[in-house]
């Protein structure tokens, strides 16, 4: 859904005020971006967010890691076949440690890549919508993406839900 870059930002001192505004705005068909100082499931519930895609990155990274670890140990041992301590050239019990560590390594790194991609980080420049520094302290923010004709209605909803400050970005 294409979202307006302009809109109305409500700064809420209370969590339930913010969730009320989210619910009411979504009923009116607004696209909503929220800001919170800490993850709250009430906000996620009000937004009805789909499951995060990070898990796919983790799984793919871990599988790639297992394959890469096994391939490295097996191929390198076959590349210069040298019997050590009477063990097989391809000694899987010993290689399991390598396979395990590379699984974790690539799983973790691709989880981070997944976070950066799905979370759209790092945010270069201003990003979309208004922001207020109190959102990392104790305030909850609700930004309603709205065109110029919808601003009035969004402002009313914000104020009625208990926003202590309403900011408007007309673009």
């Amino acid at each position: 859904m294409a979202r307006n870059r302009t809109g109305v930002l409500g700064v809420f001192p209370h969590l339930d005020g913010a969730t009320e505004a989210i619910t009411r705005l979504r009923e009116q068909g607004y696209a909503v971006t929220t800001y919170s100082p800490t993850p709250r499931h009430e906000v996620e519930e009000a937004l009805e967010l789909p499951e995060s895609a990070v898990r796919i990155f983790t799984l793919m990274g871990a599988f790639t890691g297992s394959a890469a670890g096994a391939a490295l140990a097996i191929w390198a041992s076959l590349d210069w076949p040298l019997i050590v301590g009477g063990k097989e050239i391809v000694s899987l019990p010993a290689f399991s440690v390598i396979i395990f560590e590379v699984t974790i390594l690539l799983g973790a790194l691709s989880t981070v890549a997944g976070l950066l991609i799905t979370g759209r980080l790092p945010r270069i420049g201003g990003g979309e919508g208004l922001y207020h520094p109190s959102f990392t302290a104790g305030r909850f923010g609700v930004f309603a993406h709205a065109g110029p004709e919808q601003v009035g209605q969004a402002q009313t909803i914000m104020t009625e839900s208990g926003s202590e400050e309403v900011l408007v970005d007309q673009g």
Binding site: D16, T38, P39, E101, V112, R123
Partner: protein, 477 residues
């Protein structure tokens, strides 16, 4: 009932979200002379270490006292010691996260920083110990002109993989957890260069729904990956010993024994750092008695496991009826290293048993002293495992009494300077209280009480135990 009256059971003195930010930012203010003096001391120790290391490189590894049969002296002892210190950080940040223990929130950042810096310290030692540090890349599986590769069946190569993975994953985990808090620091700081640095480091974090949703998931998966990793790392370190046939090393108990010991030493280090920090920065509202009580129980548990392992080692040595095995274990407590052997047993297994007494457990000074004993005792444990076994193995003509050289002593001392230097810098430059996660266990600000999905039926209750968000999501499914 006014919402302000609701308090978290863990932080009854924390009134609201804003207070967490204020208190965390207090640590990032201009340092006093005491801090600078400590930092100066640490840097001096690092300089001493660098000089000692330069001497060792110039004159050769023998100058540091590394010789046969004690090829692994203080350096490897200290390596294992620092890797072990790191383990409590991952335990508190990842394992307790998966177990949904809300008391971890206040201390985990500190413990996690400790992990990263301890592993960073440990990583120095293999490099120092190889004597020709410019060849350190021979440890890595890189193609050479002869097409020969490292031996993948060797525990020493497993160790390279385990420790580098651990350093990478714990650094990444540490940094990812820091992002929302660096953003909080960015939004509140007034110092221009700090604002610029925090803006870059926070990656432009704003705490949007999209960011939090993916962040909480990614954090959960990182914790799930770090948990088996931390158990594997010290197991692999223990296999450096257990896979060889040196008497005193060749036992199957080593992996769990080392992991329990690692957690014991790490928790002790968290306490050793946490108690003075709480006092100096007046963090009583965050590092409460409850936190220290739980850490005392963790210390007691791991100390008991370690004590059991000590007993089991002696039992197995006797029961195996193996001459060399019995001799090494006899030598540990009655031989030339009897002082190290008895220090290890009394500091790690006996002294912490005092924590059974609630009065001692609640007395932070006593707890601090006990944790210091454990720190020393755990260094001795690694010393006792490594040195007496090597210097007293099969053939009497190979016996050699090992003494720590001045070079080794200087590098050991310098490693503490190196570790605490990073810790001190961390305290002043990055948020050492996990701002966003402490807020997870505080009751959220509400205008009307019953709107809270998990509101209390009994309005007389003044404290609530808020669990991390993920738990509620789990419950909901």
């Amino acid at each position: 009932m006014a919402t302000e009256e609701l308090r978290s059971v863990f932080h009854p003195d924390v009134a609201n979200y804003e207070q967490v930010n204020r208190d965390a930012m207090r640590l990032l203010s201009k340092p006093g002379p005491g801090y600078l003096a400590l930092l100066g001391l640490c840097v001096t120790l690092v300089v001493i270490m660098v000089i000692a290391f330069a001497h060792e490189v110039y004159y050769g590894i023998g100058f540091a006292g590394i010789t046969n049969p004690s090829g692994w002296g203080t350096f490897i002892t200290t390596f294992v010691f620092w890797v072990g210190i790191g383990h409590a950080g991952t335990l508190i940040s990842a394992i307790l996260f998966l177990f949904r223990a809300p008391w971890r929130q206040a201390i985990y950042r500190l413990a996690e920083a400790m992990t990263v810096f301890a592993v960073l310290t440990a990583a120095l030692f293999p490099i120092i110990h190889i004597g020709r540090p410019w060849f350190f890349y021979w440890l890595l599986p890189l193609p050479s002109e002869r097409g020969i590769w490292p031996n993948f069946r060797s525990p020493l190569l497993w160790d390279v993989f385990a420790v580098t993975t651990y350093l990478t994953v714990s650094s990444v985990f540490f940094y990812i957890g820091l992002i929302p808090d660096i953003a909080a620091a960015r939004d509140s700081t007034t110092v221009p260069w700090r604002k610029k640095a925090y803006t870059i480091l926070s990656l432009g974090w704003r705490g949007t729904d999209r960011e939090w949703k993916n962040f909480t998931r990614a954090y959960l998966f990182l914790a799930a990956l770090a948990t088996p990793l931390v158990l594997s790392v010290h197991s692999v370190v223990s296999w450096d010993f257990a896979v060889s046939i040196v008497p005193g090393w060749h036992t199957t108990i080593f992996a769990p024994y080392f992991v329990a010991g690692a957690i014991l030493s790490g928790v002790a280090m968290v306490v050793t750092i946490g108690v003075p920090l709480r006092k100096i920065f007046r963090l009583e509202a965050y590092l409460t008695e409850l936190h220290f009580d739980r850490m005392a129980k963790l210390l007691l548990l791991t100390s008991t496991i370690v004590g059991f392992a000590y007993g089991m080692e002696y039992f197995m040595a006797w029961y195996s009826a193996e001459l060399f095995e019995r001799d090494v274990f006899f030598d540990r407590v009655f031989g030339q290293y009897w002082w190290a052997g008895w220090s290890m047993i009394s500091f790690n297994a006996l002294v912490p048993q005092l924590l059974w007494i609630p009065k001692i457990r609640k007395n932070l000074t006593a707890f601090f002293i006990i944790s210091t004993f454990v720190n020393i005792g755990m260094w001795y444990e690694r010393f006792v495992i490594i040195v007496p076994s090597l210097s007293h193995s099969y053939e009497p003509w190979k016996f050699l009494n090992y003494h720590m050289s001045y070079t080794e002593a200087a590098i050991l001392l310098g490693s503490f300077g190196w570790f605490f230097m990073w810790m001190l810098l961390f305290l002043r430059f990055l948020p050492s209280l996990s701002i966003a996660e402490i807020k997870e266990i505080l009751p959220p600000p509400l205008k009307k009480h019953d709107a809270h999905a998990h509101a209390l039926d009994d309005h007389d209750v003044r404290v609530v135990e808020e669990l991390p968000t993920g738990y509620k999501e789990f419950e909901r499914r």
